[in-house]
Every structure is written in structure tokens, then in C-alpha cells.
Symmetry: C2
Subunit: 440 residues, 2 copies
């Protein structure tokens, strides 16, 4: 597995020639290499959680006609100006309009039409009086309504085009589609919705100590738990994992396995083998590549983007282009793997689906306990959010400092960002928390 | 569509004989009728977002052996007590242990073993010194390590069983499985995960004015946008929608359609037809049922649970058991349909998957603007959450008072709960906000 070393920066820099980049710079390089995937159409009822691939516009005014907001009588407000329970206005009923039905008669002075919720308000009427403020009657041998309250013009009527005008934008490219979008797109007749395809991501776990999950434990060995975790993280980003199993710490096997899958996927994620150990094959593979240069006119098909990031956990997290394919080499340590995914893989996967702001959503919260001593790296500490009765959000740090701890991975709502520097953060300090994209 | 009337309570009560229950009572009745679905096994990499159907326990101690936290030398701390860069301790190297490899030699006084991250720490050693604080050497013709810093006992060693003891609980029944859980379950060899099945939910839209989404608009008609919205909401709850199309406002057709699908699904959701209009077929169907009675010893296979809820929007929201199947009859008004789903259908679907606290997650936020005047009903106002730089959460109300407005459905993060009473809520008031379960 060979995960994180992560101490004694300058020594590592000197000895292993790995220069740390800031998280923001690492993100910039990964996003620049990410591109977007192709688009496809999905049935409207399956669009939730997908990202729109082009702007959609209103195909009609909405509402498409003046619409009754509730059950009652469509009237001319002026006819009801003096109406009250003791002095109701008596209006001849000229029509009854169901939702979906057509108004046959116009409402003229002294008349009304019975309308159901959602029905088109007949020509001439400018208000709807709710049924509960009316009574049925007969006047002059004809059906009539007693209106017991004065109506304001426009009351309980949604005018045509109140919400949308024909051609106005309904949803933007890259938007994550919610159930509310499904309602909007249905309204405007989008039975098939253009969305970005789900990026396909190959997942490899490297490390000679790794067993498949279904295997019995053997001395000194552990099961590959990162592949399933990364698969679940990939799905949360709307992408599709392609599980490629485990690889031993052998350069040739690794190189061959990545090359074999490369053309069939949009990104490759590996876990493990990125540290400074004697058997860190992924690190070895990346050492063989040309380094990133901000001054090169065009990116080389194969190049190292970075092999050290100024963050903890996950400082050996690396990224490269291999034959034009983005490869993210995450730490084998579960906690560091998780942080590397959230900071680098997740934004890349969202960007590939057109997300115009693919970084994790950041909120401000107050720390509910001290976070240790200073660190030369920015730290990303798993935290549980707690919403106080006072409207304040608190971040409760979980298992600080133990990046190998797995139990807290399942509980975390976010990553509290503790700035680098000589001091840690104190209880009550406001800190940025990156939200993990979760369904709860 | 015939959606919400929702005004003049006592009049409706008197005239239409529909007695409003409080939201909490409506939820209680629906949850009591919900039950749980059967369970099934899914592959580990597909468990994210599902709910566990039985407790899972640690199948071994974790870590399973004393584990090196980083690359370096396993030593006896006592041997390094006086070590410093200028006065390193010289220890004979007796072994090299890769992650996954076996330690062949014990570390005795005056010796050390080279260990990689994740390797088993050899017998006798009680600390690991990071590689960066060491140097290679030769002593007495044999390979040796110069240790340049004093080690604390236990340093950089995760003792066996530090995180989990064999048999201790790892995840509880009903828990929503996250990527972190996938890592944990993989660690303990759960290649197949027991989860509750996805409840199957039939979705009908009722209303003679409704056109299929793919149809061109006709005068007075609108497209069925609720079915797609409800389908997306159902999926967000981990359940599977079964779209059954639209039905006219005709009692016989409605009754027949529900009966036909009933045995194949776990729940039925209808939209529309629940109000007091002349063509509200769903309301008519429910009127024919025996009423809920808290004193009846056993629930009847068919009974009305409620047909009016003290909430706005969505007061005509109704629920029933029909031949033993839970039927939720939501308003046809998109906004009211949405609120009815979040308050009643979503908790029921989560409970059916074993969620021990299936109500929506409620947080406290500060209102960023006034919310109008009083209401005899509790109001659920769509809101966007905003996290201030001061650690305070603000709820920005969206499109207050327009339950038909669809644009804000796509934007809302939560429903702000405005208590019933003679006054509304003011800017700066703390209010409860029910979080919509979203992936962002």
C-alpha cells in the first residue's frame, strides 16, 4: 500500500526530489487536463442527478393561459366591489370550466363562470373567488352564484406567462438536475433531456499486500478496501467506476495494466504506491515522465502534473497525463485517499460533466474543539457538522491526526480546512468546511 | 389537476367534512402503515446510497497486526533514547519488511528492521522512525541504520485492534451506506452487502387536463410534469419509481388503475384530484373509505388515513390504505406536491428501508427576510440556505406564497417551517429548515 510519509518536508524535497505544489495549483492542473465528456439523451424521469449538456429554454409562455389558482367562480372584480356575506353579489353562471376544458362563454358584466383549480379563466373575467366565499342560487329562473366577498382584480388568477416567457432560459449547461428541474422540463415538453455522459473511471488498487475483499486474511496482508470506497465516491459524482482489481508493486505490471484500460475510460484512478518506500511502483512510474511546465506551449501526451501536494493527509498524491489520459494516483492510506479524491478527483469528474464551479462547496463553520499544533501543510480534517439552536454551524473534528482511521470516514459531513502555519486552530474559530457531496 | 383550495378552514370542514390533522399526526399514521421491504445482497462497490438491513460486525481485529504508519526503521525505542543528528544510534539491520510481507527476524536490543508503510512491525520493536530521520551505514561489516532522533514507544505504530476489536459493531441496520462504509465493509471482507431492497412506487398523475410530456400543448391543457418530478424524488430516497402515466378525473378508471398495479408495488403515489372541485376523482375515491380510528384494534385493509393536513401548501394531501397498500394522494399543484412528498412520502420510503429516524433532517437557520402575515396552518416555504462568513446559516425564502411557482423548486435547499399563528416570521428570526436530501 505504501501510503503517506508526509513529514520533514525539505528533507523529502532534497532526498526524493519531489516538489510540493499548493492544493489550488494541483487543482488547476488537474482541471486543465480534465476536458468534458460527450453528451447523450436520457428519459425525463431519469434526469435527476445528471448534468445538463446544453441550455434549455421555455417552449411556451407559462402558464400558457390565465389560470385559476383554486376552485371557485371567475368574475369581473368590479361586479363584486360591494359584496359581503350580508350583501352578496348575485351573478348569472354562464359556464363551468374544468381543468383541461375550454371556456365556451365569455364572462360579461353581471355574470360569472364556475372554474376548477387549473382551469383557463374565461375571457372577460379578471379574478377568481374561492368556492368557500360563494353559494349557489337561482335568479330569474337561471343558475346563479352568490358572491359574498369583494374580489381584487387579479385575485387567484395566474396570468399567462407569469413564470416564464416563451424562449426564456429554464436551465443552464452543467446544471445538476433536481426533481424541481424535472418538473420544469416536463412542463416544457422535454421528454428526453440532453445531459453529459457519465464519465467512466478505471480504478486500480496497487500494493502487493492487498487481498481481494472476498479473500480470507493472511499474515501481514489486508483486504483492498480502497477500490470499493473510490467506486462509491465516483458514483456520488455522477460517474461510473470500472473496477480493475489489485496490482502488485511492480512497475511493468502497473504500466501494462494502465495502458490496456486507457482507451476505454475517461480517467484512471490508482490508490497506493505513491510514497517514498522502496516498493512504491506508482511513484516509480511517474518519476519516468517529463515534468509539468507552465511555459510549454502545448501539453505533452504524457507528463507528470505533480507528485507532491502541500496538504495533509495525502501529500504524496500525484497526477499525470499518460497517453493523453488523466491519471490520479491517490494515497493507499484510506483517509488520505478519501481527501485526495474529494480535493482532486471529484472536481475533475464534475468538470468533465460541465459543472461551471466544480470545486467542493465550502461553508464557514465554528470549530467545536481545538485542532492541535501547527503544520507546514494545510490540513483537511474530517468533521461532522452540527447545527446549533442559535443558527450557528459547528464543525466537530473527527479522529484528528489519524489519517489511517477508517471509522470516521463513514461519519464525516465535511473536511475542515486548517491553514498551514505555526499554530493550529482553536475552539470557536471560524474555519472553512468543504462539504462532502452526500445524499443526507 | 384540481389542486389546493386550502383557505377558510372551518368552512371547508363544515361543507366538505374534511377534518385537518396536524403534520406530525399525518406522519405518524403514514409511518405506522409503511412497514419495511425485504432485503437483498448487493456487491460491495454498489452499496453506496443503500440502507443496511442487518448489523455488520468486525470479522477481525483492525489493524490485524501492529502496523507501520510510515516508511522507516522499526526499532526498540529504548535503543534510541540518546539519539540525535550529531550522536546517532547505530543499529544493525536484521530484516526488510514490505507491506504484505512477513517479518522473519525479531528486533532485539541493538537491532532494527527496515519497514515500509503498512508493513507488520516485527516482534520486539515498539516504534518506527521515519526514513527521513535515518541514514544507511555499515557497522562491523554488516548493514546498519543510523537513527538520528529519539523515538517514543508506540511512535508511528498502529497497535493491533486499535480501531476495531473482533466482533465489535461496524454499521447498524438502517444506516445509509457512504463511501466510508464501503471502505470499512471491504476491510472486513463483506464482498456482498445485505441491504433493504429499493421500494417500488407506482406513480399516477390524475387530471383530465394532463397531456403526456411529449405531446404538443392544446388549449386549456398542460403537460404532466409531476410524474417526472415525483420519479426523481423517489429516486433520491433510494426507491424505484414505476411510472403509470396519467388518468382522467373518473372514479372508475382511477379505482381500476390502482387495483391493477397494487400487488406489484410497495406504495402508490398519485398527484392531483384531491381538492374540493367537482371533478376531484381521487378525493371521491377516498371519501368512500372507512375513516381512520385510533381506537380500532387492527387496521382495516382499506381505510382513509386522512384527507386534510394542517399545512400550507398541500392541505388537501391525503393518504389511505387500499387493500393493504399505502396510497399517498398528493396535490396536483407542483409546489404542494413537492411539499407533500418531502413531509410524507420521503419519510415513509426511508422507513421502508429501515431508517430509524426517517423524518427530514431539520436544522436551525436565521431568516434573511420577513415571511408575510399569519396563517392558521404551518407553512413550508422553499428556501435557499446561505452560509455566512460568521458561521451563521441563513434561510433565503424563495417565491413565498406562490405554491404553483415551479422555478424555485429547482433552486430550493430546504423548506423553512413557519409556525401557524397570527403573525408570520421576521427577518433575523431563527426558524427550523427541513433539508431536502440532495447530492449538493
Amino acid at each position: 500500500m505504501a501510503a503517506e510519509s508526509g513529514h520533514g518536508d525539505h528533507q523529502i524535497d532534497g532526498r526524493f526530489n519531489r516538489r510540493a505544489v499548493l492544493v489550488e495549483e494541483a487543482q488547476r492542473r488537474v482541471l486543465a487536463a480534465a476536458g468534458t465528456v460527450a453528451s447523450e439523451h436520457v428519459p425525463l424521469a431519469e434526469c435527476g442527478g445528471r448534468r445538463l449538456s446544453r441550455e434549455l429554454r421555455a417552449t411556451c409562455d407559462w402558464p400558457p393561459f390565465a389560470r385559476a389558482g383554486l376552485d371557485g367562480y371567475a368574475v369581473r372584480a368590479a361586479d363584486t366591489a360591494l359584496a359581503s356575506p350580508s350583501n352578496p353579489a348575485t351573478l348569472r353562471v354562464v359556464d363551468t370550466v374544468a381543468a383541461g376544458g375550454l371556456a365556451l362563454a365569455a364572462v360579461e358584466a353581471g355574470t360569472a363562470a364556475r372554474v376548477m383549480t387549473g382551469a383557463a379563466v374565461p375571457e372577460g373575467a379578471d379574478a377568481v373567488v374561492m368556492l368557500e366565499q360563494t353559494a349557489e342560487a337561482v335568479a330569474g329562473g337561471e343558475k346563479a352564484a352568490l358572491i359574498k366577498a369583494a374580489a381584487r382584480p387579479g385575485q387567484n388568477v395566474a396570468p399567462r406567462g407569469e413564470e416564464f416567457r416563451l424562449g426564456s432560459p429554464v436551465a443552464a449547461p452543467g446544471e445538476l438536475l433536481t426533481p424541481g428541474h424535472a418538473a420544469l422540463l416536463g412542463t416544457f415538453g422535454y421528454a428526453a433531456v440532453p445531459v453529459y455522459k457519465r464519465p467512466r473511471v478505471a480504478v486500480f488498487a496497487t500494493g502487493s499486500e492487498l487481498l481481494p475483499v472476498e479473500a480470507p486474511l493472511a499474515p501481514g496482508q489486508i483486504r483492498d478496501s480502497n477500490s470499493a470506497m473510490v467506486a462509491a465516491l465516483i458514483r456520488e459524482c455522477g460517474a461510473e467506476p470500472v473496477l480493475c482489481g489489485t496490482l502488485p508493486d511492480e512497475l511493468a505490471a502497473l504500466r501494462e495494466a494502465l495502458a490496456r484500460v486507457s482507451a476505454a475510460v475517461d480517467m484512471i484512478i490508482t490508490t497506493g504506491g505513491v510514497s517514498v518506500g522502496d516498493y512504491d511502483a506508482m511513484a516509480e512510474l511517474l518519476r519516468g515522465l517529463a515534468s509539468y511546465s507552465s511555459s510549454s506551449p502545448a501539453p505533452a501526451p504524457s507528463m507528470l502534473l505533480f507528485n507532491r501536494v502541500s496538504m495533509r493527509p495525502g501529500s504524496p498524491t500525484s497526477a499525470a497525463l499518460l497517453d493523453g489520459k488523466l491519471v490520479l494516483a491517490l494515497s493507499g492510506n484510506p483517509g488520505a485517499c478519501f481527501v485526495g479524491f474529494e480535493l482532486l478527483a471529484a472536481p475533475a469528474l464534475r468538470a468533465m460533466q460541465g459543472d461551471p464551479s466544480p470545486a467542493a462547496q465550502a461553508i464557514i463553520a465554528r470549530l467545536s474543539s481545538d485542532i492541535g499544533k501547527g503544520s507546514p501543510h494545510v490540513r483537511y480534517v474530517r468533521a461532522k457538522l452540527r447545527f446549533g439552536g442559535d443558527g450557528i454551524v459547528y464543525a466537530d473534528p473527527l479522529a484528528f491526526g489519524k489519517s489511517s482511521m477508517m471509522a470516521s470516514l463513514a461519519e464525516a459531513d465535511g473536511l475542515a480546512v486548517i491553514p498551514s502555519g505555526s499554530q493550529g486552530s482553536k475552539e470557536g474559530d471560524v474555519v472553512q468546511v468543504l462539504l462532502l457531496k452526500r445524499t443526507c
